[in-house]
């Protein structure tokens, strides 16, 4: 609660040093549908993000999630439920050119999906990969501190790092496990190739280790993008590979053809035993996702996908559609 009040004071009382440092409001508004085994559910979502610079070296940032879910009740009608909460709320201090110190409730930087792709206005698919919970220690957030930055930066390669420690928190708003971990990535700008490794360890209960690796490749001026991630825990492992493409051959990316974005993703999870501790399906599962997104003008996207899931418990068809609007504007007028 104290952090929320501090945020309120910060956003209301921050003196603006530079006009370009006005606090911003960003995020996404979406309406999603999911049809699984013939049952259709609906989800209006608002996911706002705020970033407030404080002086020359501080930044306060936070993201919230508001979801209303309408699900079939089995009697021909619909039940609805809602969720409102903060995804993260953190303060960042840029200590030097290679180090940023983060404190508060932060997104666990394990792999790439949780930190980079999970916002509704970023993800190409409406559903997360099957193994997404591996390494996220239940909540996907930590309460504590994080050190991160660019270790080396040259025209031919760069290395960045993130390391963190989280305390155990049973707080209703900021729940986390006592844990630590880190991630490091090597990026080759000429090849547009990124490779990274992640590790984290839960320091409470069963004290499991989780290992992750990711490879992203986005060749220059090709409109093609390949993302992949592998994660392994004590009881399960899995991977996903996602490819998407936008053609500029028919009048550029902003032509009506260039706005189409076909997608494909393959997911597989493998159980090593039946101990449930990681959110991965209880039996070995494969899923193929076929998507077709359309990038409308004015930061709006239409997302559609069909998924076929294969498992010994039964195969499932999943149809998803959604429309997402991304907003980004100053929180107030600010000083010129």
């Amino acid at each position: 609660m104290t952090m929320v009040l501090a945020f309120g004071l910060a956003i209301c009382g921050t003196p603006m040093v530079f006009s370009q440092d006005t606090p911003l409001l960003s995020g996404g508004v979406a309406f999603l549908t999911n049809t699984t085994k013939g049952n259709t559910s609906y989800q209006p979502i608002i996911e706002p993000l705020t970033a407030v610079p404080l002086g020359k070296n501080f930044l306060f940032e936070s993201r919230a999630l508001l979801v209303e879910s309408f699900n079939p009740d089995g009697r021909g009608g619909y039940d609805h439920s809602h969720f409102i909460g903060l995804t993260y709320m953190q303060g960042d201090y840029v200590a030097n050119p290679h180090l940023t110190v983060v404190g508060g409730s932060f997104i666990l930087p394990f792999g790439t999906y949780n930190e980079r792709l999970s916002p509704v206005w970023i993800n190409n698919f409406l559903n997360a990969p099957l193994d997404v919970q591996l390494g996220l220690l239940g909540t996907g957030t930590g309460v504590g501190g994080e050190l991160r930055g660019s270790a080396i930066r040259t025209p031919k390669y760069s290395i960045d790092y993130t390391t963190w420690f989280s305390a155990r928190s049973g707080n209703a708003y900021f729940n986390s496990e006592r844990s630590f971990g880190g991630r490091s990535s090597l990026y080759l700008p000429p090849q547009r190739l990124e490779m990274g490794l992640s590790y984290d360890r839960s320091l409470q209960g069963t004290q499991e280790n989780f290992y992750g690796a990711h490879v992203w490749w986005e060749p220059e001026d090709e409109g093609f993008r390949l993302r992949s991630e592998y994660a392994r825990g004590h009881h399960a492992q899995g991977y996903w590979i996602e490819a998407d493409y936008r053609s500029s051959a028919f009048g550029g990316l902003d032509s009506w053809v260039g706005r189409f974005e076909p997608l494909f993703r393959i997911n597989q999870t493998f159980r090593r035993d039946t101990v449930v501790s990681d959110g991965v399906p209880l039996v070995n599962t494969q899923q193929a996702d076929f998507g077709l997104d359309y990038n409308l003008p004015h930061n709006t996207r239409i997302l559609t996908s069909y998924s076929r899931q294969f498992a010994s418990t039964g195969d499932v068809n999943i149809w998803e559609t959604g429309i997402v609007y991304r907003f980004l504007f100053p929180a107030w007028k600010g000083r010129r």
């Binding site: 609660m1 409102i84 007028k333």
Partner: protein, 105 residues
């Protein structure tokens, strides 16, 4: 879906709502869109054009790696965006400065 999850969320949204309502003219001075194919303007000094090229490159390599290019935003938040990206994308100090110049050109 615990009821207590409402409290911080509502406070957050209230703070955002107040902030947004207090800026009724926030959209009026949007900077030119920075798309993936930003065209060089009619005349630019070689140094400025080079800076813009480098800024475009840094944008493509770091920001566009994860998300689509926002179609346009106010120049009043360019510094905030760059600082946010510095943390999120682990930008170097050099990249942060070049990106800021690129946004402000």
């Amino acid at each position: 879906m615990k009821a207590r999850h409402w409290i911080p969320g509502l406070m957050m949204m209230a703070a955002m709502g107040v902030a947004a309502l207090s800026a009724p003219q926030a959209h009026t001075q949007a900077a030119p869109p920075r798309g993936a194919q930003v065209k060089v303007k009619a005349y630019q000094s070689p140094k400025r054009a080079q800076s813009e090229d480098e800024g475009q490159k840094i944008f493509d390599q770091n920001c566009s790696r994860c998300h689509a290019t926002p179609e346009g935003f106010s120049s009043r938040i360019s510094g905030t965006i760059v600082r946010h990206m510095r943390v999120r994308a682990n930008l170097s100090a050099h990249d942060e400065q070049v990106l800021l110049q690129y946004f402000n050109q």
